[in-house]
Symmetry: C2
Subunit: 87 residues, 2 copies
């Protein structure tokens, strides 16, 4: 599975386009690591099991929407929706 080589620093403040569960999972994983959180800690933060985080970050498309958004929020990801006609 694709992952970043991220031993060192992290480009915080990046702007990622989210088209599917996989991209959201990657974004959450990146943001989590940037904060130095473990999957367990993130799971605790949103009252889920560790397995949920594992599967979410792996891009599981059937993950629960609400918990996924909660996880994104918990790692400081700001999600915005823009109508396409905006250009």
């Amino acid at each position: 599975m694709p992952s970043f080589r991220d031993h060192d620093f992290f480009p915080i403040g990046m702007n990622e386009l989210i088209e599917n569960a996989n991209q959201l999972g990657v974004a959450i994983a990146s943001a989590r690591k940037a904060l130095g959180l473990t999957q367990r800690e993130l799971a605790l933060a949103i009252n889920s099991g560790e397995r949920f985080i594992v599967e979410l970050e792996a891009g599981k498309p059937t993950a629960q929407l609400g918990k996924a958004l909660a996880a994104a929020h918990a790692v400081g990801l700001r999600l915005t929706a823009v109508g396409r006609s905006a250009g």
Copy 2:
């Protein structure tokens, strides 16, 4: 301004913060109406049942993440994730 019905217009370029399933549902419903699509048509577009769209737009937090993102995509919503620590 010519006369128009309340749902004929969609504020172009509006940028909505998505924090939970409810906000995403509202955004999807708005975008769908702006395109003149019915729930049935949207359901067909993403290979789901109508009920899924009804529940998604109603903000059901346990809706499947992948299908929710597919629906957002289908109605032309561009979702972006931005790391919060930048600003």
